[in-house]
């Protein structure tokens, strides 16, 4: 039999002014199971809490109801008090007779009647409360960072500097990402490589960072604190342990005309290559699709010239399993391609801009490579078609972005700023040239950003034309750009030497596939979804997985770095304890009743429901049931409301507790 203690608080006069607290105590005292019902001036005060603790011990109370303010106010206080008196904290409930009663009703009679109902309801509820032991989950204090761009590098360095081991996985042969491709960065115009390469070297030299380049995530299992990640190390064909990075192999490779993706395919590289001279690691990779040895079986020059004997044509892809406790996803972005789209793609290409077939119509990243001192033209702005310096250059903004009819409705955020930067770089390099920019709006929020944009117009002589381009076409060696200037209301036609399209920022190809491996959600563009747009912007809904950088949405460098550090801070918070403790309000499956229809799994927003095999002592499979991983469960209870047989129950909000409350009315 329960021995319930009910404590009705006056809250000074906040409650007792409108509610007859003595009568509430007297009435509730008549309910079966109530051993003690009393009232007190301030239950939350020290004497009040002591009264509660003493009563629990002296009266051997089994459950406690505190009728006072909102549980959002003092539930923790009273549960702690109850715990210190030797009861499980979840055997204590609060009846909200202040916010929900005394403060909102004036009629003493009505308010008192309602208070009696509220307390009575909680008495019936608390009878059905069960002891809920705290749930702890062990935490492996190593983290995985996916993506070696600036976001991944920053997150990895922050976590590693805190003394926790980091596994950094990068798909390309070198870390650095898109930031390594940039020439100079807005709004300060400092050289991207100058600020980026030291960080890359820090990663390479950091004792707490284990770097996997040319590698991909194959499989992710487990949950917060306890992930097992299988990483596929693609065959480099070069032994990383032997290679000294001397570069002789690259110098001798006879295949020299392979378009280099790092240079947006306008620069050339060899078949054994590092994407750029400052690559980290400085270990080359053999591009097996273009290597003569792999194509014909003859050549092997690199192997012959390699002093340490690092070239290994026999190398195979290798799978490595790493145990980690947290994952930072920093897979970054890709640019919208103006080339014709494959059939079935929801995104339409830009036929009116030549589908990428006019050689001197390039995208912003290609312009970066042209402007970069380490780029294929040594920093000279030259036309890809004939190598001439363009004297008239047209920049067109919002290509793909903010174009619902083309399939993308969002703003790519960085293009206004980088186009302004491009006009400046162009003006610095081609003094007699003229830059035109077609734009819809200039979106320049950010520290020193608007000043930067204004500078491009006021000091660097860029001509901004508000309006969109309707068509462009090749005419002789010129590109005719036809558009409208809506500010003046005239049609504009410019004969340009080069056109630069500010194409939209999109998630990396395969972002959806990685998300499925990780069990995180993504939007229709495949940007990863944060747990809460405002209050949990760096966490995924899936516990233990965090987001950094443009994989979550278009971002510039400062924002990316901030988010990466924030994600790192979240990881460090998780790692600050050996055991992850969580409120034991989680769903549990009753194996005996579960028929494995997995309706719960379909509705679970956290992906907490797994399949569990039940075997007999001989190891024969008896049945498969659902299992809720308590480390992952968020405690919403949607599974229980969905389960037809109620085989899954949310602790703390069981059907018994709720029905008891309804029946008390």
């Amino acid at each position: 039999m329960s021995r319930i203690g009910v404590f009705v608080c006056h809250c000074g006069e906040n409650i007792s002014r409108t509610i007859d607290v003595e009568r509430v105590a007297a009435e509730v005292g008549k309910l079966p199971g109530v051993a003690l019902a009393t009232d007190y001036k301030y239950m939350c005060s020290d004497p009040g809490q002591n009264l509660l603790k003493k009563a629990i011990q002296e009266q051997k109370l089994t459950h406690v109801v505190v009728a006072a303010c909102s549980p959002r106010m003092h539930e923790k206080t009273f549960r702690k008090a109850v715990e210190s008196a030797g009861l499980n904290p979840f055997l204590c409930e609060m009846a909200n007779i202040r916010e929900h009663c005394s403060w909102v009703h004036e009629n003493r009679e009505e308010a008192t009647a309602k208070a009696i109902d509220i307390v009575g309801m909680m008495v019936e509820r608390v009878k059905k409360n069960r002891i809920l032991p705290a749930i702890t989950v062990p935490v492996t204090k190593r983290s995985l960072v996916i993506g070696g761009g600036i976001a991944g590098i920053q997150a990895a360095l922050d976590i590693a500097d805190c003394g926790h081991e980091v596994i950094l996985v990068e798909r390309e042969p070198s870390i650095g990402g898109h930031m390594a491709q940039l020439s100079e960065t807005f709004p300060t115009l400092d050289c991207s490589q100058c600020i980026m390469t030291p960080k890359m070297v820090d990663v390479a030299n950091h004792p707490m960072i284990k770097l996997y380049t040319y590698s991909e995530i194959e499989l992710v299992e487990g949950y917060i604190g306890n992930f097992q990640v299988t990483i596929k190390k693609n065959a480099r064909s070069v032994d990383e342990n032997k290679c000294t990075g001397c570069g002789v192999c690259m110098a001798k490779c006879p295949q020299k005309k392979i378009p280099n993706k790092f240079d947006q395919n306008i620069g050339m590289r060899t078949a054994i290559f590092v994407p750029f001279p400052q690559a980290v690691p400085n270990t080359p990779v053999i591009d097996r699709d273009n290597c003569t040895m792999f194509k014909t079986g003859k050549c092997g020059v690199c192997q012959k010239v390699c002093g340490p004997g690092a070239v290994d044509f026999e190398q195979q892809d290798r799978l490595v399993v790493e145990a980690v406790g947290a994952i930072v996803v920093a897979t970054g972005f890709d640019l919208y391609s103006i080339a014709e789209k494959p059939k079935g793609s929801p995104i339409k290409g830009y036929g009116e801009f030549g589908h990428g077939k006019i050689p001197d119509v390039i995208d912003g990243m290609t312009f970066e490579r042209l402007a970069s001192a380490s780029g294929p033209t040594g920093g000279k702005i030259l036309r890809p078609s004939d190598g001439r310096e363009p004297k008239q250059i047209v920049f067109i903004q919002c290509i793909g972005s903010r174009a619902r009819e083309k399939g993308i409705s969002y703003c790519s955020k960085v293009c206004c700023m980088y186009t302004a930067k491009h006009t400046m770089l162009y003006h610095h390099k081609v003094h007699d040239g003229q830059a035109y920019v077609f734009f819809m709006d200039a979106r320049t929020p950010g520290k020193s950003y608007d000043e930067f944009w204004r500078r491009s117009i006021e000091e660097e002589e860029a001509v901004y034309i508000r309006g969109m381009v309707s068509r462009l076409y090749q005419k002789g060696d010129k590109i005719v750009v036809m558009g409208s200037d809506i500010a003046v209301g005239v049609q504009v036609e410019i004969e340009a030497d080069m056109v630069v399209l500010a194409t939209a920022v999109q998630p990396q190809k395969g972002a959806d596939i990685l998300a499925q491996k990780l069990g995180i959600s993504y939007d229709k563009y495949h940007f990863y979804s944060e747990a809460h747009a405002k209050l949990r912007p760096v966490e995924c809904a899936t516990a233990g997985i965090y987001l950094a950088g443009a994989c979550q949405g278009p971002k510039d460098i400062p924002e990316t770095v901030s988010q990466a550090s924030a994600a790192a801070a979240k990881v460090m918070t998780l790692f600050s304890k050996d055991q992850l403790e969580r409120e034991p309000i989680v769903a549990r499956v009753r194996d005996a009743n579960c028929v494995a229809c997995f309706a719960c799994k379909k509705v679970c927003p956290y992906g907490a429901v797994e399949e569990k095999e039940i075997r007999d002592r001989q190891g024969n499979l008896v049945k498969v049931v659902a299992y809720v991983n308590p480390g992952v469960c968020g405690g919403c209870g949607t599974c229980q409301a969905t389960c037809p047989s109620k085989s899954v129950e949310l602790d703390g909000y069981t059907d018994e507790q709720i029905v008891a409350m309804i029946e008390a009315l």
């Binding site: 009703h105 309000i585 927003p605 919403c636 909000y653 309804i662």
Partner: protein, 166 residues
Amino acid sequence: MHPEKQKHGFEPKIIAFVCTWCTYAGADLAGTSRMQYPSNVRVLKFPCTGRIDPVFILKAFQQGADGVLVSGCHPGDCHYIAGNFHARRRFAAFRKLLEFIGVDLHRLQFSWVSAAEGGKWVEVVTDLTEKVRAMGPMNEFKELALEEQWSGSINTPELKEAYNQI
């Protein structure tokens, strides 16, 4: 000091199923702002509207509720990401069923009330209370509960006699 409260012949019983993060907090805000509303409502707290089983609504009516309110976070604000979206579908279907069975849907109100909408809470509760008060008691389920009737009505003299002899 206060205008004389109007006496009503019928005080409806209103049961509110609310989520803890938005509507419960909104009702708390109504309290801290000292807003006034009819005292007919009894609040049951759930973690999320996603936890609210249609059977609870049925049970509430059977237990004598004259009106039922289900309220949670606005779409997109769910603390548990998507619980309210699931609830929205579930209740869209369930209310159609109740309507078909013959329950007057004016007695069943759904709302989104955020933690900042103390005023909206007051408005929703007041509206529902007044509406149900005007409709009178929800007798359908209550009468069923009182009916001591076996399957098939005892509508022939022979059956009546046999029944009376029991």
